[in-house]
């Protein structure tokens, strides 16, 4: 039976996911959708979670239009100076690259760790 489900994946070239400020995040996005998407947005962003209210920030965004229903696309983001991936008692700061096919609800995400060492800073 043919697979008719929408599929969107995101694979970073660096499998350990750790990056230092200024390094390039590179990867490959693949999609197989029943209909050609209007566009696919890919974002590099961070967000907080923990005891207090959440915060978030966008560090980069790519938009791909005029796409076929199936295909693949290389992505590149330059990592900013911060904030570092962090986990303390009250807050965690996390980074991710996220791809969203529009219209629709297909989302793919890949975790990123940003710090001077490429590992999450813990206190």
């Amino acid at each position: 039976m043919p697979d008719t489900a929408d599929n969107l994946t995101l694979a970073l070239d660096r499998t350990d996911g750790g990056y230092r400020p200024g390094e390039a995040i590179t990867g490959l996005m693949r999609w197989s959708l029943r209909q050609p998407p209007e566009r696919i947005d890919v974002r590099l962003f961070w967000w907080t979670s923990g005891k207090g209210s959440s915060d978030s920030g966008l560090a980069g965004e790519l938009t791909f239009e005029g796409l076929a229903a199936q295909g693949e696309q290389a992505i590149v983001f330059d990592t900013p100076a911060g904030p570092y991936s962090f986990s303390g008692k009250l807050v965690t700061i996390q980074w991710a690259v996220e791809a969203v096919a529009r219209p629709g609800k297909e989302v793919a995400r890949a975790a990123v760790v940003l710090s001077a060492t490429g590992s999450e800073v813990t206190v």
Partner: protein, 214 residues
Amino acid sequence: MQQVGSLLSSTGGAQRVGQDEVGVPASATRPCDNPFRAQRLDALRYVEDGVVLDEVIAKLRRKGYRGALVGPHGTGKTTLLREVGDRLIGDGLSPMPLFMNSEDRGRLPRHWRSAVRMAGHGDALLLDGYDLLPRWARVWVLHASRGASAVVVTSHRRSVLKTVAKTASSPAMLRRLVAELTDEYAAGSVDCEALWQQHHGNLRDALRELYDRQ
């Protein structure tokens, strides 16, 4: 750096990015894994215990969509207000939620002023922390919002607006919320009665204490 609060709502901000995160120690509970983290508390539904949402909406309709949700701290007023807003969408209204930040207490925040002025036909002003405005501002808000199709406020005490719901909490409500937030916490593993008493019925404070216990 541009703020992207909408990102989190669209991607389920309370979720982890993945189960195979890298460069992350696998030791104590990280804030993003704490079952009592703020994002999960904010996503809780209102526990209908004495206050029935359908009845609140019916009262609001009868009162021309003007009313107050009244109750002590931490008894679900904000949660109920959010759900009232969701229901008003079904009545063809567009919710305009306004929240009072702690630094704005005792004055009329600029964004409240502009939103109230802008609200018109079809808009539902949802004013969380209305009673924290100074008296002159409360009067101004009610006057200036006459063009809005709905005005629903939260307040710790009765106000000029008709009370359409009186919120209250109970140890049973706390137990239900704890059970909903985590599998590890079976209802019996936390002394909800004592915790509820300790926080004088403030459910949010009680759940925040459970955050610290993780």
